[in-house]
Each structure stands twice: as structure tokens, then as C-alpha cells.
Chain length 347, copies 2
């Protein structure tokens, strides 16, 4: 294609704000959009071809009317969805980027994107791992696991660690970090297939299917007869309430997400907060954006772990931009096994 | 009276475990008990005459069947209630204590106590303040305010601080510490008299009567249009839920108590925990027992503040051991104005 050529640019749009459980039909494929494959004269933007898009639970909060507390602005109805992705630079008006560069960061759910917020892009220097890893284990979810576990949980060798949504992009890595440190690690997930993965692929000491448990308190007491030192919270609701009853003295809860609550009109009530006093628990919410200064350190560590076979990583790839809405919604029913990625183009 | 004389020793007993709201009749005055005013031969105990007894909210949890999470053992039904107090040593089998010493620490709700757990006693060296202060501003509640504010809240000059149950033994001191540091401080309380006290005696910037507010979220937005950096939590329930909606980024919540929940069969549900992520809040429970190593530092600081008139302190004194049950129960209806003390003897 010639420079500056105008091409078709399929997009996934959010039709309107969503309350309750999101459906595929809340999103739409726009086939009629076009884009010029050149950065406008004088602009410092970059023009990229999107390769991999990341499906992340936090995106649910951007589909919601901006009435609930959130930390990022909502999507714009009838506009393209945005999210983390891996892309290749086709043209650049910014001195830090040039044609052919690979980047990861905030892009659009479309074939090509003109990105003006270049400060949120990371250049990819290492291509000895699959590029899609930069939507997961080497990208935002990986950094989330790293910051949450090492910076918030204050982990020590031998401690008892519980991870919910443990086979997801963040959870699988948290569990492996904890194992590498010498902790006892249990994960919960929502299918037996994921439980198998946790025990047999990711090396968790134990794992259970929370949907098979009628009483989460009893389940946790079975796996943690001496209680939990560290809880890495991804789900919220009833699981958090049960965990609070099972924390050990001076336990720590890193609150990363509460995916079980995102589609409820009114979040479930938590009743066991008094444990925070009785057990002297520290419960701390965090966002990965506060920790990106640690990215180079994280990248060095995790690349070595991956190359040394000390960390394994499972992705669930949906092929084609058109598969994006179903893939995103699948997160909330737990359809994905491992990190959910949408493959827009292979290069 | 002669050494080793046997004397009458009135006691307050807990009749049986209490569920729901405690009543005076859950306790009983035992007039028939006697005690020998001498430590048994070979014992390392101390025999004390109790002067002041402290009424503290945590005592409610010791009246409950040991089914809920707690950090201290329950009282023994049909036995004397124990708690913090100030007492005078009449006889000692322990080398660290001698007749005439004044102490504060765990004693019994009775005229005289034989204390075997002497490791939990503090010797009183300074009598240039009222002795009853060692049940409050210079004792456990004071240390609680000090540890919670300085060690848990990570306070900085100019921050916005909210204290609930602010006229209580702990709250009044937290607010004054925060003012001395240069914070903006608002307190809540349950009567207009207490609100006046907060504003006109303790120097809070603002105060409000939570019982006059139909919507605590609206009330907090009125006093904290820019949000709350530090919440010193004494009450739990609806107030905590409203505070969560009004925290600022990187806010801190020191969870000291949840008095609104102690008499409920089932604690109220909290719905706004997601704010912990959105606002990156650190919420941390603590118990004063973990911080007693700081007591000498605390004592130096607060004695100087008191002598310099920089900290004021309000007590609510009930006269006579017989008044103990009503005084203790009054805590849960907010009857007390300031720190509730029971005067057993003036010396």
C-alpha cells in the first residue's frame, strides 16, 4: 500500500452505556470506517496497525455511566472501544517512535489507530517472546501482578497465599511469583479445567472450583487450616467476605479487582469487615498505573523467568477483530482459559 | 486495717454471655465476696486497691459467646469483669512492684484485685496529672489514638481528616493530634452537646451530629468538598460505607473500632468497597497491644502537650463501683460525654 493511502478500518464500537450484564449486542462492528495511513502534518501522533488487543476486566467499568466511583473516564457511546494492545508503527510524527517500531499500550479496537496519547505507549525491545505476551505477562496484567504482589502484599517465604480468579492473566502470574518465593499457594477458579491448569501447569499447591463449594468459608478452612497471610483479591463479594474470616494475624489483602461485582446494579454487602481489626489486617487497593516506573525492572525479571522456564503463561486467543465483543464478554462468565487476547493481525 | 486482713470486696460480675444490646441486668453486683489483703506466700502477684476503672467499647466483644472473630478471650460468666484501670499496690510478691506504687493496666471490676498477669501493668511515675487520666489520655485509649494516627494514618500537614465517635476517649485525642500537625479536622458525634465540645473545646474545624443527617454521603460532601485523606474509624457500618465514597486518592483508613456494629446479631453490609481500588485506599486495622513499646515516647509527648495546654481532655466520671454497669452500657447509646470512667475509690 502507498504512503498515506486511505484504507478500510473496521472498528468495534460501544453502542451505549451498559447496566447489568453486558451483551455482545452492546457492541457493534463498524465496517464503513476508513483511515488515512499517515500522521497528519505537524501532529506528534503515531499511526499504528493493531496486532493484538487485550480483554481486561477493568474495561467493564468504562462501559458504565459515570455515576459509580471509577478511576478512568467511561468510553464514549457510539465510538470505538479503547484498551491495551500490541501494535506496529506505520507512521510517526513523534521523535521517540519510527516506522516499524513495535509498541504496547493504549490503542483502539480497530485495525489501525492514530494514537495521540503517546506518553502511554511502551516500545517493545525484545521480540524473543511472542508479541501477544505484551498484552499479558509482559504488559499491563503482568505489571499488575508484580506491583500487587511485591509492592502491596509484603510477601515472605513460607507464607500462606490465596489468589482468586487465579487462572486469569494476573492471577496465574501472582501464584507463580508466590511459588518462586517459597509460599504455599492456593487458587480459586470457576471451572474444573482451570483448576487442573492451576495445579498441573502453574504449580499451585492446591486449587478449587468455587462454583462447587456451597460454603466458601468451609472451603477456605479446608485449604488453609492455619489461615491466610496474603489474599490477592480479584473477585470481591462473597469470596472476600469468606476470606476476611480466614485471615491470619497481620494478614494483607491486595485489592486488584472485584470482577464478581462489576455487572451488579448494587454491589453485594460485606459483613465481615470487623476481622480487619481483630486480625490487624492491611487491605490496600492499587492501580498498575502508579507503578509503571518499575516496568524495566519487572521486564528484566519476568523475561528471565520465562526464558528459564520458571514462569509459564497461558493465553486464550480469539481470532479476528470481529470476535472481540464475544471475547470481552466471556471474561464475565469465565469463558476464557488464561489471558484473553483478540488477534487483529499477525503482523 | 491490719496486714493480711480479710475484707469485703464488692465485685461486678457478668451473669452470662450477651447477644443483642447489653443491659444493666446482664451484670450483677456481688456484695458477699471477700479478699485477704495480702499476696499469697510464694506468689509473684500484686494485690491492688482499684481506684478508677475504664469503660471501653472493646469490652462488648468480651461479653459475647466466643463465636465471632475477636482478639481477646471472652469474660467468664458468673465471674468478675476485667478491664483497664488505675490502682494502688497494697502488697506485692513481684520484685518490680512495691506497696504504695500506682499502676495502670488490666485489673478487675471490684474493690481489690489480686493481679497475676503483672506483665500487663504499667507503673505510674508522674502524678502531676489526675490519676484517672491513666485510664484515658495517658493510658490505653491515648496510646490507641497515638498509634492509630501516627503509625497507621501516615498523616501529613494540610490533609483532610475525619474522625467518627470523635468526642470519645480516642477520638478527641486523634482530632487534637491532627490539629497540632496542621490538618483540617472534622468529627462526628451523636448529640449536639458533643458537637459543641468538638468545635469549642477540642478545636475541631467542624463537627456534626450524625443523627441529624438523613444522608451521610451528603453530609460528608458538605464538610469535605475535596474529599477525605484520613479517616479514623471508630464506628463502622453506614458511616464507613459513606466515607468510602468520599475518600481522596491514596487515602488511609485506620480501623480502630466499629462500635455501631457490636450489638448487632449480623453486621450491616458494606457496599462501597470498590472505592478501595478506584481511590487506591489503604485500610488497616490495628490493636494498641502491638504498639505498647512506644508508650514511653507517647507519654513524654502527651504529658508535655497536656501541661502546655495544647491538648485538653474531657472525662465523664461515674461515682462508685455500683455505677459501673450503667456506665459501661451507656457507651453503646452514646450517653457518656468524653471518656467514661468509674470511680471506685479516690485513693
Amino acid at each position: 500500500m502507498g504512503e498515506g493511502e486511505e484504507v478500510g478500518n473496521k472498528q468495534i464500537l460501544l453502542r451505549d452505556f451498559v447496566s447489568g450484564f453486558p451483551k455482545e449486542s452492546d457492541m457493534a462492528l463498524n465496517r464503513s470506517n476508513t483511515i488515512q495511513l499517515k500522521v497528519p502534518e505537524g501532529s506528534k501522533a503515531v499511526l499504528v496497525k493493531n496486532l493484538y488487543l487485550s480483554c481486561d476486566p477493568y474495561m467493564r467499568s468504562r462501559m458504565r455511566k459515570p455515576d459509580a466511583p471509577s478511576y478512568i473516564p467511561p468510553f464514549t457511546p457510539a465510538s470505538v472501544i479503547t484498551g491495551y494492545g500490541v501494535a506496529k508503527v506505520l507512521d510517526s510524527g513523534h521523535p521517540d517512535f519510527k516506522e516499524g517500531d513495535l509498541i504496547w499500550g493504549m490503542t483502539g479496537w480497530e485495525e489501525y489507530s492514530l494514537i495521540t496519547a503517546t506518553e502511554a505507549l511502551f516500545k517493545i525491545h525484545y521480540t524473543d517472546v511472542p508479541l501477544s505476551y505484551y498484552t499479558g505477562v509482559l504488559g499491563m496484567p503482568g505489571m499488575t501482578a508484580y506491583a500487587g504482589f511485591y509492592e502491596i502484599c509484603s510477601p515472605k517465604k513460607g507464607e500462606y497465599v490465596f489468589v482468586s480468579a487465579a487462572s486469569g492473566a494476573v492471577g496465574q502470574l501472582v501464584g507463580q511469583f508466590a511459588k518462586l518465593l517459597g509460599c504455599y499457594v492456593v487458587g480459586s477458579a470457576g471451572t474444573n479445567e482451570k483448576v487442573d491448569l492451576l495445579k498441573n501447569k502453574f504449580g499451585f499447591d492446591e486449587a478449587f472450583n468455587y462454583k462447587d463449594e456451597t460454603n466458601l468459608d468451609v472451603a477456605l478452612k479446608r485449604y488453609f487450616p492455619e489461615g491466610i497471610d496474603i489474599y490477592f483479591e480479584n473477585v470481591g463479594g462473597k469470596m472476600l467476605d469468606a476470606v476476611l474470616l480466614n485471615m491470619r494475624l497481620h494478614g494483607r489483602i491486595a485489592v486488584c479487582g472485584m470482577i464478581s461485582q462489576y455487572n451488579l446494579e448494587q454491589p453485594e454487602g460485606l459483613h465481615n469487615l470487623f476481622s480487619i481489626i481483630a486480625k490487624r489486617i492491611r487491605m490496600e487497593g492499587f492501580l498498575v498505573v502508579d507503578y509503571y516506573h518499575l516496568y524495566p525492572k519487572f521486564l528484566d525479571l519476568v523475561r528471565q523467568y520465562i526464558k528459564g522456564g520458571k514462569i509459564v503463561y497461558v493465553e486464550d486467543k480469539a481470532e479476528g477483530l470481529e470476535s472481540g465483543p464475544a471475547a470481552l464478554i466471556g471474561l464475565f462468565t469465565g469463558k476464557n482459559v488464561g489471558k484473553q487476547v483478540v488477534v487483529v493481525a499477525h503482523e
